[in-house]
Symmetry: C2
Subunit: 416 residues, 2 copies
């Protein structure tokens, strides 16, 4: 009930936000960058409270950790966002009808965006900056592990807003009470969009329970198909990069599909993976081929569950295919439609692969590691969408806007 009133006020505030000039928003973002850098002590103290509650061996520990350097980097991202162009208000299409009506399709903010995320406190600042830059109020629901860090960060956001005379309702941190999340998921009247960022489990929960529209982000079960005409050196570099650059990211490689005619090259294709201590879950044919070449301690026989697994660790699976069709079928069955790649010098086969694979990003002789807003040249991103509705792949500023139709006339009525 209390949240209902809060949501009502946020919706009201979002109307006022649509009238604030971009300059004021940009100034506020630059202020916030300074404020963060002036308040290391306060931020790191709160972050330490969070860290003290977490086991050092928890893989989330590093995500939760803030340092002076990391805060500098967050402040630098803020300055970048302040300098990006904003396209809110842009006329996307303009139509004059025979009866004289002038129709314009105009880019507008969504209004109110709820973002549900896990332990990374930098997401709090990221999400706020992208939402407000595109004219949206944000409702932030961070992981309870990061609650002290998030409280301090949002209090600094409010400080920056107030310094520009702006409403603190433009950024609202929900409590860690689960009931508030459920209210948020059903707040169709007040919230225009919900973006879950985090584990597959979190995304499933949101998708299953929300009645507010959702954009799914994140989960990436990614394949690279090494074709019969694949270049060995390119393949080696691409596979190693896609798997080992950073294992915790959604565009990391999970499964190599290898054409049976190239099995002989598999030991060479995977030799850099061995150096990086990558555990391989190999299907029978690739297992046989790797035996005696790949370190025994890192080689396992794949079971069915290995396909369709997002490892987020130094592991991958290998599946041998008789032809590209089999590779395409495997991808269609197991992929999360995030990022998929082919390594081949045969351009017809590359084209067919790119045309037929159903994923946000399809690569030909490039590492899947590039699925990222900044790497695509789109500026900052709020996440990688793995659905087809509204936005697909990296979601930059334009992707967190909507549009409306404005029709101007002089008394036109419709006769038919």
């Amino acid at each position: 009930m209390k949240l209902d009133k809060t949501l009502y006020n946020i919706r009201k505030a979002s109307k006022a936000l649509s009238l604030i000039t971009p300059n004021v928003i940009n100034e506020m973002l630059l202020d916030l960058a300074d404020i963060l850098e002036e308040n290391y002590d306060q931020i790191l103290k709160a972050n330490k409270q969070d860290l003290d509650r977490m086991d050092l061996n928890n893989p989330k520990y590093d995500r939760l950790l803030l340092t002076e350097q990391r805060i500098k980097s967050i402040a630098s991202d803020l300055r970048n966002v302040a300098n990006l162009p904003s396209s809110v208000g842009k006329v996307l299409q303009s139509i004059t009808r025979p009866n004289g009506m002038q129709i314009e399709k105009v880019r507008v903010p969504f209004g109110v965006i709820g973002v549900i995320y896990e332990a990374r406190p930098n997401v709090t600042i990221d999400v706020f900056s992208l939402c407000i830059k595109s004219g949206n109020c944000c409702i932030l629901k961070g992981g309870s592990d990061a609650s002290s860090s998030n409280k301090v960060l949002v209090s600094l956001i409010h400080k920056a807003l107030e310094a520009q005379g702006l409403d603190s309702a433009y950024a609202t941190l929900l409590s860690t009470d689960r009931k508030e999340v459920d209210q948020l998921l059903h707040a169709d009247r007040y919230v225009d969009l919900i973006i879950p960022r985090g584990s597959q489990q979190l995304i499933e929960y949101v998708r299953t329970h929300a009645t507010v529209p959702v954009i799914e982000t994140g989960a990436g079960i990614c394949h690279t198909y090494f074709d019969q005409d694949g270049d060995l050196e390119k393949g080696k570099a691409i596979i190693t990069n896609a798997k080992t650059r950073r294992v915790s990211v959604c565009n990391a490689l999970d499964c190599i599909l290898i054409h049976q005619s190239r099995l002989e090259d598999l030991p060479s294709l995977t030799e850099l993976l061995a150096e990086k201590k990558v555990i391989i879950h190999a299907d029978p044919r690739s297992y046989k081929q790797l035996t005696g070449h790949y370190p025994t301690s890192l080689l396992e026989e794949a079971d069915e569950e290995d396909f369709g697994t997002e490892y987020l660790s130094l592991q991958l699976s290998i599946k041998t295919v008789d032809n590209m069709e089999e590779a395409l079928d495997h991808i269609d069955l197991y992929s999360s439609r995030h990022s998929e790649a082919i390594v081949s010098e045969n351009s017809d086969r590359c084209d067919a692969f790119c045309a037929q694979v159903d994923a946000a990003a399809v690569y030909q002789n490039v590492s899947t590691a590039f699925t990222d807003g900044a790497q695509f040249g789109l500026g900052a991103e709020i996440g990688i969408s793995t659905q087809k509705l509204h936005a697909r792949g990296p979601m930059a500023l334009d992707e967190i806007t909507s549009y409306k139709w404005i029709v101007k006339g002089s008394g036109q009525i419709r006769n038919v």
Copy 2:
């Protein structure tokens, strides 16, 4: 379980569909138009079976009814769709990165679209033609009232598909078994999008239960604000047109907001409504003003429920406001964000209204009756979206597509 297999086959078919050339699709649509006109008897016979099960006084009766003339009109719409351009495959954005990667954002079909609708059998052909024209397989779930008509129409669709050697899985009619709808709503693996068309109740059901992404269409609670500087003649024409052109459509007027300084003009503003026998639910100030002018038998005092009601009949409500802000607040509270209008000669106020009203279409001195794909010059439409995600307002061919990113390179890897 059986449906699962069907859905799997449809998903498979959608891959093949993406390889069919537009010419073949267009030929098939033209064939289908001919086939419909050659099979009046069969269609009307099946339609009669449906009509015989329905009470003549049911308001759905007219929507269910097919006639030779209506079938001609459906065939004519098919020929129009065949002649529309299709933008599937179009490059929407092209980026060359400093490392030489070529990135293209390419328009692609969704893949498989489920459409759930009520008694109008013409929707069956409409939906099929728009889906296949944009490269999508469709799963049709029509109302049980129209089951015999739909069966015949889909059998004729299959005939047209087969005549071009195309897979009949491109159009699938679900049975009227409710369980199949629930399976469809949860078929995330096979279905890319669900569009409910029909009553608010149907839409709510789909929104609440679906885990597949949904685009809401249809419900329209529409206002027209007659401003202190409104032109009386324009206002009279616009209000009468928006209310009485067709009462069963979603862009029909439901509530007049009148500036208190123009109450004296209310009898004149509503005089054409009286001729059309429109029942007015008036708030106290407008009730007082209309008393003695508007026919007593058509004038009622409004209660709270009258605001926020989509009448779909010859009824509307009137609310007196002290200023435009009050009108904006009323709209924000009660509107379904479909179509909203202002009648005013004051251009500042018109601009402010258009900027601040949160709706798919906002009109200045134009009847809301124009919210329609054809009226906007967009070609045929599959519905009017009232949400902000993906598509807003009339959804034409482009709006039932998605995009993907295709990245071509020569072995690029990501270093940071």
